[in-house]
């Protein structure tokens, strides 16, 4: 029987080239970082000065006792969204990337509105209610 030729080297070479191109494209795309605002929970409420959003529309809010970061995004002059960065599959911490939120454990992906893009998670991220009082953005955490 004729021996089959296996192009292992060609396959590996092509794969490496593709991976290299992908890495370069990815690095070029995501060089930004989101600033962390540290605060605390008082009577189930997290307060963030509106001035935090004067120059940038996104903040990662970190408050002891919550256990997870919160992604807060300014949608308009008085409109904000706040998502708890806890995977709805098995509670893993989530990573905020460009246009999406990733779970490093089982691979779930969410969009910035908290909707599931890729499983295994099947329910959207928990949203925190937002309101504005006295030049502060208040998030209700319960």
């Amino acid at each position: 029987m004729e021996k089959k030729r296996i192009g292992r080297k060609d396959f590996i070479k092509t794969s490496c080239s593709l991976i290299g191109l992908g890495v370069l494209a990815g690095l070029a795309e995501s060089c930004s970082s989101y600033k962390v605002f540290k605060t605390k929970v008082t009577d189930g409420t997290i307060s963030i000065p509106l001035s935090e959003f004067a120059l940038e529309e996104v903040r990662i809010v970190r408050a002891p006792g919550v256990g997870y970061d919160i992604l807060v995004r300014k949608m308009g002059p008085t409109s904000f969204t706040a998502l708890l960065l806890k995977c709805t599959h098995q509670d893993w911490d989530l990573q905020v990337g460009k246009n999406q939120i990733n779970c490093t454990y089982h691979g779930s992906v969410f969009d910035w509105m908290g909707n599931v893009k890729t499983g295994p998670a099947s329910t959207k991220l928990k949203s925190l209610a937002t309101r504005i009082e006295n030049e502060s953005l208040l998030l209700t955490y319960s």
């Binding site: 995501s30 970082s33 295994p120």
Partner: protein, 408 residues
């Protein structure tokens, strides 16, 4: 069947007790935290996954039906920082006297959250090595079986006892790391056909004098996910005297094994792509063969390329999905055979896959896939006692699988 008054009373009493017992247990389809209000911050959750399929072997004109695996997940959140996870796995439905099914703990560990983005896992768990080791839920990969690369080369799910630190680099969003120490492998279980799979200890009275360091970098960049993982560990934990007789080094990195894996995934607008390369190096394979006569290879390697598209992505945005996919895999189990081993070209294989996955909801998938295998010839010198009648040997085979899987 009718119940008398006493019977009805006992039935109602049992139902009341049962409902009261389950009031503390969540069967919500997601998340341990679904019930943080159950008892302060504490909550218990039950979930699981499973997969079954029908397989048609066209070459041998055979067919098989398997309940491949069922997994019961039980988790408990003690507070906002400490959580217990466990997965009990049953393979092939029945475990009894003559059957070959298997029950094992796939994972059993406690997660300690240190600060947001940083945590420690301790116990029996799957380190970040390859893709399937962590992301093996059946509704997240194509095909009824896990990729051949992550079965024959990386023996997923590859779990060992250990401690691992996971975290992120705050200065570089999307870049994650993990570094952990585990018990090592057992060289006596290495073989040409199963690679290092037989050397896993999986928490069963594991020899831990030999240890392993496992590290990874994981980077999310837009629709890309890049991962590089490395493993360096000893595969002999026997005492000095026995090791000396066997001619093997022992201790922390005694009789070392090295594993390296690089993979990239792309996911965007219904498209999915994946490329992966893995290599295992066993520098002391010659001495392992001299000690155990197990035909251990010195090098094992594999590569994979996969592409898929979800035709329902625009209409349902992932709520319902219909994927078509194709995958190519190259596996070489005897990349470098030592003088004490016997090469078997049969285990140099190419696998071609094409198939469909339909998810009527995110947690349920119906899969159909066709697999075509090209393998090298069989080394006749491996037949020690030639049978009077030898079955024909084929260098290509094909299979069709139709199955269902769930994860909740």
């Amino acid at each position: 069947m009718s119940l008398n008054k006493k019977g009805r009373f006992l039935l109602i009493l049992l139902l009341m007790i049962a409902s009261n017992s389950f009031a503390q247990i969540l069967t919500h389809e997601d998340s341990i935290s679904a019930g943080l209000n159950v008892k302060g911050n504490r909550a218990t959750a039950i979930s699981g996954y499973g997969e079954a399929y029908y397989e048609q072997d066209f070459r041998n004109k055979l067919a098989t039906a398997r309940l491949r695996r069922t997994i019961l997940f039980i988790g408990h959140r003690f507070n906002n920082h400490i959580t217990f996870f466990s997965e009990m796995e049953m393979e092939d439905a029945v475990v009894s006297g003559g059957s070959k099914g298997e029950i094992s703990m796939e994972q059993c560990f406690v997660k300690f959250d240190l600060v947001p983005g940083m945590y420690i896992n301790a116990g029996l768990f799957t380190p970040r090595m390859g893709v399937m080791n962590e992301n093996h839920l059946p509704n997240t990969f194509y095909g009824n079986e896990r990729p051949v690369l992550e079965t024959m080369v990386i023996p997923s799910t590859w779990r060992e006892l250990g401690v691992s630190l996971y975290g992120t680099f705050p200065q570089i969003p999307g870049l994650n790391y993990s570094i952990g120490i585990f018990n090592g492998l057992q060289a006596s279980g290495f073989t040409l056909d199963n690679g290092i799979a037989g050397g896993r200890q999986e928490g069963f009275k594991a020899s831990a004098r030999n240890k392993a360091i496992v590290g990874s970098l994981l980077y999310y960049a837009g629709p890309f996910r890049f991962q590089a993982s490395g493993y360096a560990g000893g595969s002999n934990g026997a005492d000095d005297k026995i090791s000396s007789y066997a001619g093997l080094s022992t201790g922390f990195m005694g009789t070392p094994v090295y594993v390296g894996d690089v993979n990239v995934q792309y996911r965007n607008k219904g498209w999915f792509g994946k490329a992966q390369i893995t290599q295992i190096s066993i520098p002391d394979a010659d001495r392992i063969n001299a000690a155990f006569a197990n035909n251990c290879p010195g090098r094992i390697s594999g590569a994979l390329g996969e592409i898929g598209y979800d035709f329902l992505n625009k209409k349902y945005n992932g709520e319902k999905q219909l994927h078509a996919f194709g995958r190519y895999e190259f596996i070489n189990m005897n990349g470098k055979m030592p003088e004490t081993g016997i090469e078997n070209p049969y285990f140099t294989q190419q696998h071609f896959f094409a198939g469909l996955s339909y998810l009527p909801v995110r947690g349920v998938v119906i899969k159909a896939d066709y697999q075509y295998i090209i393998n090298g010839s069989f080394n006749q010198s491996l037949i020690i006692n030639p049978p009077p009648y030898q079955l024909p040997f084929y260098q290509n085979r094909s299979f069709f699988k139709l199955g269902m899987a769930y994860s909740f």
